[in-house]
Symmetry: C2
Subunit: 482 residues, 2 copies
């Protein structure tokens, strides 16, 4: 048996135990993972900073976020209502046929394959949102480490294994797997895999999506593949907030050297204020010191993407960067007319790094056309005055079709981890716009409903017993009750 086949056997054995455990057991386990990662802090932060080229301050914040989201899921599991329990009691007197007793709840899917992301060595990696939400739902995880930060990944994997030991979880609960693209494909194709979670490039996500749909038994793929996250700036708003808008935009564009899925790589600016706005943005960008990108491969791709775009005669370059740098990603900015943007699909493609296209528009009618042609995005942002927003409902109505999150203030970078977050938009930003990879709803990706009909009380799961021992919120005979 191959090593991977063996890993799946272990995961499947673990699954049969995990799915019978109580919420309390699962909560304790998640809390222990958070504790173990905090204990590692002193060694983990410098290692993650070293392997990702990200500053220690940023990594410290990311560690806080990682631990915070583990505790969010621990709280969600402890509270327990996420399983959507529904009870329809029997009615033996009903005519023409008696009504059976049916009870439904979400149950874990089985072994989940999780792929780590290079741009978040902690929060979207080994003990990141995908791994934790899968474990929270009761699924074992086969984690494919990202080769960009191998030591960081091993350290976090060890922390999880320690928690597995302390909490006496089955051995196959979490498995750390290293390898390349072939290993990833083998994991996704294995018959015992029940779902895949991925954060990364369109190419990588699409390849997994295709593999999983061609399997004898297709499985869901939750691939978050990034987007260009347009910001639409309306005229009156811009005339009142020119300077603050330029500052906010420039800061968001270069945050983390532009290496965020929610980096705003497109900004739509009215013709009337374009010159003033762009000169402000450029002067802000010029003050940004070049910073190292995650690794040389990403930096090379960044410069190649810019080189490819430079061929276009429609783009006017406002700020260019040297292409001969091995690791440094300097900000870069180009400008195009909305009418030209509408005719060239390449202007919608994500350039991973601190680059943006500023699109100059003449009218709201043009923005409505943009909204129709725009590809699926994680986020869209509209900056307008109250009057402008209320007066352009058609545009907003069209625009919400293109994104998972619609912002009316602030910038798309800095994704809040909470209950209301939706981090997942229409394809190609993700492969499944019905799901989120950030926030508490992420747990639902790894579960499916099962209905139990006329089940003896003794066999019912706690969530479905009449006396409601967990005091969760349930729908009972059509009424929400606790």
């Amino acid at each position: 048996m191959s090593k991977i086949a063996n890993s799946f056997q272990e995961a499947q054995q673990a699954f049969l135990i995990l799915k019978q455990q109580s919420n309390r057991d699962r909560t304790t386990f998640l809390e222990e993972i958070a504790n173990q990662i905090e204990l590692l802090k002193e060694e983990l932060i410098p290692m993650a900073a070293k392997e990702s080229n990200l500053p220690e301050g940023r990594i410290t914040g990311e560690l806080g976020r990682t631990v915070g989201q583990i505790r969010l899921f621990a709280g969600l599991v402890k509270e327990g209502s996420w399983v959507e329990a529904v009870i329809d009691h029997e009615d033996s007197e009903r005519k023409p046929v008696p009504k059976p007793d049916i009870r439904r709840m979400l149950r874990p899917l089985g072994p989940v394959v999780v792929f780590g992301a290079s741009n978040f060595p902690l929060a979207f990696s080994t003990a990141g949102g995908d791994t934790i939400s899968a474990l929270a739902s009761g699924c074992p995880v086969l984690y494919k480490a990202h080769p960009a930060h191998p030591e960081t990944s091993r350290m976090v994997a060890k922390a999880i294994q320690t928690a597995v030991g302390i909490c006496q979880m089955p051995e196959g609960t979490f498995q750390h797997i290293e390898g390349g693209i072939d290993t990833g494909q083998e994991l996704a194709a294995h018959p015992l895999a029940k779902a895949v979670a991925f954060t990364g490039s369109f190419k990588g996500g699409k390849a997994l999506f295709d593999t999983c749909n061609k399997r004898e038994i297709p499985i869901p793929v939750y691939a978050e593949m990034g987007s260009v996250n347009p910001i639409f700036v309306l005229e009156a708003y811009l005339s009142e907030n020119l300077e603050s808008a330029a500052t906010a935009y420039a800061n968001s564009l270069v945050l983390g050297v532009g290496q965020f899925c929610t980096n705003p790589g497109l900004i739509f600016v009215p013709k009337s204020h374009e010159a003033a706005f762009s000169s402000q943005v450029i002067s802000q960008l010029k003050t940004v010191a070049g910073a190292p990108m995650l690794h040389e491969g990403i930096c090379k791709t960044y410069h190649e993407a810019l080189k490819n775009l430079a061929i276009s005669e429609k783009l006017e370059w406002l700020l260019t960067t040297e292409a001969n740098q091995l690791l440094i990603g300097n900000p870069s900015l180009a400008k195009v007319k909305a009418s030209d943007w509408l005719n060239e699909e390449a202007f919608q493609e994500e350039v991973f790094g601190p680059f943006a296209i500023m699109v100059v528009y003449d009218s709201i009618a043009e923005l409505e056309e943009v909204a129709v042609q725009l590809k699926g995005q994680l986020t869209c942002t509209v900056w307008g005055t109250s009057t402008e927003l209320s007066g352009n409902k058609t545009f907003l109505n069209l625009l919400e079709e293109r994104c998972g999150r619609l912002l009316f203030k602030g910038v798309p970078t800095g994704v809040e981890v909470g209950h209301a977050m939706q981090h997942g938009g229409p394809y190609p930003s993700t492969t499944d716009s019905r799901s989120t990879s950030v926030g508490s709803f992420a747990i639902k990706r790894f579960a499916r409903p099962i209905a139990y009909q006329d089940t003896p009380e003794v066999l019912l799961l706690e969530e479905l017993k009449d006396e409601n021992p967990l005091q969760i919120l349930r729908k009972v005979d059509g009424e929400y009750l606790r």
Copy 2:
């Protein structure tokens, strides 16, 4: 522009209006559809009976179910909590960065393509569960009529169109489309289609699934493709209930001439009681008068499937049927040893009609092997005494992985339309085990979450306004509130 392209343009125009309508408008519309169908009763019942070869009594029941499920969805929309509204309020004082205001809810996907089923000319057809749950969510529907009952379909379509007119819904809200397989494929492939719902054969469902995954922008396919719905009879139970078990089984097998997705085409019986049980079942089946199937094509397929199985030397035939009948589907029964069943995948394939394989087992260990090898099912049923059920948790734990609904009493046919129903199991019984095509959760198939960040109060949808004008259940800052 082709006729279909034109239909999608109309649907898309309708969508932009539908998704802004109030719950009240949508509720009134659904109720009006139910009323219009009831008004048609006198003409509709004989027509559906004539076109499906099903008795008028059965069609009368199906009409009641159809109208009942429309009212179930009307009630769900009126109550409004199905949208999973979540509000996380801002915290401008939070350090290091202020917390934004984020509000999330489910929003309709867009134009949905629905395929009618031949075996339910009303409940799974023109105004069936798929159409109604899509309309309930706020999606326009392009309905591809099933060619087996064209007049029935036209009559119901006209009822829906009348409701569209009375309620002043946009014209493209519901469109009735006739055609063959090519038309269906063209509908599923159109760029403006946002989801597909289908009930029918594995071949048909799989073809749509493949088409939709190969699109430039893949879309979800909810295909319910049927299954063999095994019943597992345990020894002590059978010794105590031999006669009633045989009667219940035989009745379920021949109900609707075996043309239900939940028809129990497999039954596992302990060796000790197999002879007594099968003789009871056979004598019951022999009393059943041959009845016409839905159409000649289905009857031909039924007889061909039996002919193909007859080649196997492992099957012992207990009851055979004449293959030269054009329309009549007589019950048929074959027997096989569990050890042989485990070695032959063909014994798991659905034979659409009143045919079953009785699998004779020696031990629970053998049933555990069966549970591991069993393909995904809409339902699995276990008949056991309390002691037997409690004593075989490993088997039950394995078995629930293979189905969407697990029954401990009664038969899988007769799918209850309610809040707790799950009609959708692991592949190949459906293409998406996370969804149901029966019951109120069916509405969730046609929606996706959108998060609105820092949205001006005046732009918020009613579901997300602070004062909660609809009085729906929401999660506000982590607490469930109304």
